[in-house]
Amino acid sequence: MNAPIRVRGLRTCFGRKCIHEGLGLEVRQGEVLGIMGGSGAGKTVLLHEMIMLRRPTAGCIELFGQDLERLSPGALNELRKRMGVMFQQGALLSSMDLLDNCALPLREHTRLTPGVVREVARLKLALVGLPVDAARKFPREISGGMLKRAAVARALALDPELLFLDEPTAGLDPVSAEGIDRLILDLKRDLGLTVVMVSHDLDSLWRVTDRVAFLGERRVLAVAPMAELAGNEHPAITAFLRGPRGRHARACR
């Protein structure tokens, strides 16, 4: 199977300031790829470009072998159905309960009967490990960890092949963060998902990812499994992974 995402020669500029210059990246089928890098390295911007929220200044992004630049809006929408996104703050719609949040993509994109839509949405909430009575709760009534789980459930609504996670464990207590890590691994195993996650959380990156792309100097400095990346001698990477936190996270493996 081809790489679900292929980025080549990517250039992103804000006015005269460029944050990506000739960036290339390939995501393999069925892997969990982490994207890490310092603040301002353009991780979130890269994510936004891959999920079609922003157009790069130049370069080519292919999703499932199709060049985004050459697709019509209709074809882009078809691609959107094949991917799910969890945003950093969850971005659940505050006017709807969790069940309706999960059912929204299903109501929008499929012609399933209302009963089936509800059943599928409930299944998704159960798959991410939310209790049964959470379905009728509103986003403001639940904790941060549950919020992230619900956001994953909504991202999974259409059974995407690709899942994007923006800082899945940021702002969570260690127990909830641990739960999210396990959830990502479970989803990868059970549903065969390809996952791209932007994260700073070293513990989580060690635990969950198959490979990590390290962003710096406007490009991808290295793509490798964490253990290999930790041996990389590039100063930006050693600062990240061999500082006290990096060593600690590694020691815990």
Binding site: S95, G115, V120, R122, L127, V132, D190
Partner: protein, 373 residues
């Protein structure tokens, strides 16, 4: 290209054949098909379910299949799956384990009487909060009067610009149009009686005493009152208001007082501007329809509008300003939750302030006629 999800019953072989892509986007109609099939199948015996021709299966498809199998088994039909690929079998097993069995609780619907009671009770509570807000505001106002150095002059000037200067074009334009409309309606009637010159009285008196203050206040309520509620509401949601409190800045000082005082100054000035614009509009129409020379029109104004009427009209403006600023800021602080609540409170702010402005205007009319002025 994969086909629509399908299921075929072959009675001769006691076999069900699954085909096509059982995924979220191609499942439509399958639900009903499965239900119909349930009725067709024998109630006992054995049935082989052949999944070898299944092209794709995702959780939604697995859910429907699992529900169907459960249904068959519940009726005593022994279903055996065969030919299913390893991944499909795994997915089906996952869904079987995780699918919630408890019936979904309905979204709670309140009986009408309870809803009525709740809304009344909420209203009473809101009124209590409003009183609390007014009390706090008065306290901070007094504190600022005692220590004028603490007054946020920069914020005040910014609000004065946003709520006053920036509103000049729209207030001017609408007032001009109101003047034109009133003059036009009046001219048609007055001409019949040959009382042309009284168009001046009609236009200027109605503008200066009633219409201009009201128009200015309604525009400001829609424009600025809503902005106050949305701004403060968003700041509450993003915890900026809490940040101010912990830094030791009372949010009232930074967010409410400058707005209130700026509007106290801006709305009377806007009203003055609205007076001018609507009289100007009337004057144009008087010349166009009744051939009244603008000079004659201007000379007549002092006879038509007494100084007292003029001041009475202008005196309403600070009261309206107070209503708009207090209601807007209060609703902003009452936001709890997210984007949804900000929208709701902003709507309430505009509706309440326009309602209160018109109500107060009515009360002023009663009061003035009672006092004989």
């Amino acid at each position: 290209m994969q086909g629509q999800a399908g299921i075929d019953y072959i009675p001769a072989e006691d076999r069900l054949v699954l085909s096509g892509g059982w995924d979220t986007c191609r499942l439509d109609g399958l639900d009903r098909r499965l239900e119909a099939l349930q009725a067709e199948l024998p109630a006992s015996g054995a049935m082989r379910v052949d999944g070898a021709r299944l092209e794709r299966l995702d959780t939604a498809g697995a859910l429907l299949l699992q529900r169907f199998l459960d249904g068959c088994r519940g009726r005593g039909l022994d279903c055996r799956l065969e030919g299913l690929s390893e991944t499909h079998r795994g997915l089906l097993e996952l869904v079987r384990r995780r699918c919630p069995r408890e019936p979904l609780e309905r979204a709670p619907v309140e009986p009408a009487l309870a809803a009525l009671g709740r809304s009344v009770w909420t209203g009473v509570g809101e009124f209590g909060h409003l009183l609390g807000f007014l009390g706090q505001l008065t306290g901070r106002l007094a504190a600022t009067l005692i220590h004028p150095g603490r007054f946020r002059a920069r914020a005040f000037l910014k609000e004065l610009y946003a709520g006053g200067v920036a509103a000049l074009p729209i207030v001017g334009l609408l007032s001009l149009l109101i003047g034109v409309v009133v003059a036009y309606q009046g001219a048609v009637q007055l001409r019949r009686y040959g009382a042309d010159i009284f168009i001046v009285d009609l236009v200027t008196l109605s503008s200066v005493r009633e219409l201009a203050p009201l128009i200015a206040a309604i525009i400001v309520a829609g424009r600025t009152g809503s902005a106050y509620a949305a701004q403060i509401g968003t700041m509450v949601v993003t915890e900026e208001v809490n940040a101010l409190r912990t830094i030791g800045i009372p949010p009232m000082d930074l967010l409410v007082l400058p707005k209130l005082l700026a509007l106290f100054l801006a709305l009377p000035l806007l009203t003055l501007f609205a007076d001018l614009a609507s009289v100007l509009g009337g004057m144009f129409m008087a010349e166009a329809l009744l051939d009244i020379d603008p000079r004659v029109f201007v000379e007549r104004i002092p006879q038509a509008v007494s100084e007292r009427s003029y001041l009475l009209g202008l005196s309403k403006a600070p009261v309206f300003a107070g209503i708009i600023a207090v209601v807007g800021c209060f609703q902003g602080f009452r936001v709890a939750g997210g984007a949804d609540a900000v929208g709701r409170r902003t709507t309430v702010a505009v509706v309440h302030s326009i309602f209160l402005v018109i109500l107060t205007d009515g009360l002023f009319s009663v009061l003035f006629s009672w006092l004989g002025i």
